[in-house]
Amino acid sequence: MLKYTGRRLVQFIPVLIGATIICWALVWALPGDPFRGRCGQVACSPQYIQAMTEKYGLDKPLPVQYLVFLKNVFTGNLGQTFSGLEISDVIGRALPVTVRLALISVAIQVVLSAVVGIWSGLRANGAFDVTALFTSLILFSLPIFVVAFIAQYVLGVRLELVKPTVSTAAPTRELILPAAVLAIGTLATLMRILRASVAEGMHADYLRTARAKGFTESRVVGVHLMRNVMAPALNVLGLEFAALLGGTVIVEGIFNIKGVGGLIYRAIQDREQLTVSTVVTLVIVFYLVINLVVDVACAQLDPRSRND
């Protein structure tokens, strides 16, 4: 298992280099000079453009710029945005907000999907199962911004149960509503997966064996069944968590959350190549690590999937 993890960690390196090169090239290929448009509605002075181009090293050949970026990442000195802010500070402000939002959202997904999905699976085709299916299909088919706007208006403005937008400090209680909105999309998928695995598992041989051994029903379901149905759900959940860490531009915009999504979006608009690449690298690392964690966890759950 250690060998497997080590091999996977080594695989990270080419993936990271490849992804950053692609990202770097894509931002570079966007038309428009990053500095000419930075002086409001009038033209920037040529001296300004020259001074900025030199300061940020954009006059150097592209491969050199890329190497500087790699050096920055490895030395931990990430450089500055065009506004003169440390990129590490900018990320340091946006990331904690996004991480908390993602964690709350995942927690909501886990609790709801486990309760609803497992219950529906245990009583497949019962009244609860059918109601859950309809509700999840309706929620799943609604575009997320529609849900966001309605939730914001009804709960925030009409009923005044929550603050309609998230303030700068982004206290956790204000993040619950947007996190719940974000949860809806994956919730339906997770519920259906869990329901299907549970319903299928209920008729599986290993369950009959367990029952025949005389285990209590709670042990049969809680240990023998759960161990087998968790792996697929965990895979979906892991990917979803990683995606949430990459930011959510639309929901962030609607609730005015100052997270990673908006950061990347603005950085691309401003041609902040260094900021974009740094944040994207971070997001890729999240993906890789979370995937690895999920794979290792699945191997623990199901010995058949161990690859060493």
């Binding site: 298992m1 993890t5 409001g40 040529p46 003169g84 005044e160 303030s167 982004a170 005015n256």
Partner: protein, 540 residues
């Protein structure tokens, strides 16, 4: 099983670490948005899309300017009617409209305690103008003598500008502790009126000693002082202690909060989480119902137009441009898309500005399908009309295009650019295939500001390559006229020249629409489309 137990432990640790990063974000930015604390004036929570650029006079950005107007007091301020009055200046005198002698009031200090003197202005302006300091505002100082030496442009055909030959503007002279003179390259009688623009604000010693540290929490000489600043997100101000000038504020504090979407800000006012927000386009039809007593609509000072690329052979004939202008049914388009929020443009100077004259453009800016067809028939135009626009105005220019096709029968396409940098790049590289969306919002309330940057040869926002000696002569005359009425006459005559040449097709003048919370008093919009926050305060 040994390894597997180990990996299970590692897995758990990684998961814990991930959780910990999420939960240990204890160092939350200061200054929450809970308003209302403090004395009788309360804290105003204002939606304002500040960028991450430093909030210093060298930054050119409307939202940043709004903050600076509270933190600094410039030589002049503008009243409700956009007329300038002396603020930090005791007097601004001139005899020839070229050299101005400025005397400062005695008792102004920066909020770090240092006095505001002639050096605070002269040093700040010299710093901004000096090329290697890379100030966004640099090109505005080109009207002061000696700019070419401190910020030389590149020679034709070269992309690298030469090094400056001087460090200070020869047109700036310190005459005494509280007195300095400014000599312009050309007469400009309206010069005192532009001095209320934030790029002309003074700077304390602390800035020149260490700009990087200063930028973390800039210090000004105005009615409010910055208490905390989270770049691009929120800046919180408190009343400057001991500030007893006529422009002192009423509220105890002002929190400027950045909203990336106007709709979110509007909803936040509805949820009493914010005290002021502009009205997003989607709510234009309903905002007066949502906020019957706490909303306003004023004639603003910004406009929407399209610059025509005179450098493209097919648009070189003025008849083509006039025909296009006459083919646009501005009245119907504005009514359908921006009900109540815009008026059809009848020239290039906003009705909110002193000196505005109705119909200054002449008949060429109004919808006249017969005349348009007639002119079009005379002109030779091959191919399609392609209008370049920025995403938010895609619908508007699709309608403009439709109107052109309906009238002239020529195919018209909209090329919709998603982001600002690409869009600006097209204009600034002189690569627009046809008319390109352009918007203009005044920096300072003068007719000059709506005409000179866009339409003089080499103007800082002239992306048409428009150059007309006749227009320039009228502008020069207007700038030299010390009597404002006389100047206005000349500026309007200059607009008539634009009407004949039609290098730029005006579409509409923007109205400013805003809503505020019920507990806010004294909120009123000025022609800037922005409230005079010094008069507003909270009651509850």
């Amino acid at each position: 099983m040994h390894t597997s137990r180990l990996t299970a432990g590692v897995t758990a640790l990684v998961a814990l670490a991930l959780l910990a990063t999420g939960c240990s974000s204890g160092d939350e930015p200061p200054g929450g948005t809970e308003g209302g604390a403090g004395g009788a004036g309360g804290t105003l929570r204002i939606s304002n899309a500040i960028t991450t650029d430093p909030i210093i006079p060298m930054t050119v950005d409307t939202a940043t300017t709004r903050v600076m107007d509270m933190v600094w007091t410039g030589l002049v301020r503008y009243d409700d009617k956009l007329a300038p009055y002396n603020a930090n200046a005791e007097s601004i005198k001139t005899t020839d409209a070229t050299t101005f002698t400025i005397t400062l009031k005695k008792d102004y200090t920066f909020s770090d305690g240092t006095p505001v003197d002639a050096d605070s202005y002269v040093d700040a302006w010299n710093y901004s103008a000096y090329g290697p300091n890379a100030a966004q505002s640099a090109s505005y100082f080109s009207l002061i003598k000696g700019y070419d030496a401190v910020n030389p442009a590149a020679a034709d055909g070269s992309s690298t500008p030469p090094a400056p030959t001087a460090k200070t503007l020869s047109g700036l002279k310190k005459l005494g502790d509280l007195e300095f003179s400014v000599t312009l390259t050309k007469p400009m009688a309206s010069f005192p009126s532009i001095l209320g623009y934030s790029i002309f604000y003074p700077m304390p010693k602390a800035f020149f000693d260490d700009p990087k540290t200063y930028e973390k929490l800039p210090v000004g000489n105005g009615p409010y002082t910055m208490k905390s600043l989270v770049p691009g997100q929120e800046v919180d101000l408190v009343k400057t202690p001991g500030y007893n000038h006529e422009d002192a504020g009423k509220a105890d504090g002002i929190n400027f909060i950045s909203f990336s979407e106007d709709t979110a800000a509007y909803t936040a006012v509805q949820g009493d989480q914010l005290d002021y927000a502009p009205v997003p386009t989607a709510y234009l039809a309903t905002f007066q119902k949502d906020f019957p007593d706490t909303s306003a609509l004023v004639t603003g000072t910004s406009m929407m137009d399209m610059q025509v690329p005179l450098y493209q052979q097919k648009y070189a004939d003025p008849n083509v441009r006039i025909a296009l202008s006459m083919a646009i049914d501005r009245e119907s388009i504005v009514k359908a898309l921006l009900p109540g929020a815009a008026t059809p443009a009848d020239g290039w100077v906003s009705p909110a500005l002193p000196g505005y004259q109705k119909g200054a453009c002449g008949e060429n800016c109004s919808y006249n399908p017969e005349k348009a067809k007639e002119l079009w028939a005379k002109a030779s135009f091959s191919g399609d009309v392609v209008i370049t626009t920025l995403a938010p105005q895609a619908t508007l220019f699709t309608s403009v295009c439709q109107s052109i096709t309906d009238t002239l029968g020529v195919a018209c396409k909209v090329s919709n650019v998603a982001d600002r940098t690409t869009y600006k790049g097209i204009a600034q590289a002189f690569e627009a295939p046809g008319p390109i969306r352009w918007g203009w919002a005044i920096d300072y309330p003068t007719m000059e500001n709506m005409l000179v940057p866009r339409f003089t040869a080499g103007g800082s926002s002239n992306w048409m390559k428009y150059a007309s000696p006749q227009f320039q002569a009228l502008i020069d005359k207007a700038n030299a006229a010390t009597d404002p009425a006389q100047a206005a006459t000349q500026f309007n005559a200059a607009q008539a020249v634009l009407g004949k040449d039609m290098p730029d097709v005006p579409i509409y003048f923007q109205q400013g629409a805003a809503v505020w919370s019920e507990g806010t008093e004294g909120m009123a919009l000025t022609g800037f489309g922005w409230p005079d926050l010094l008069k507003a305060h909270k009651t509850a």
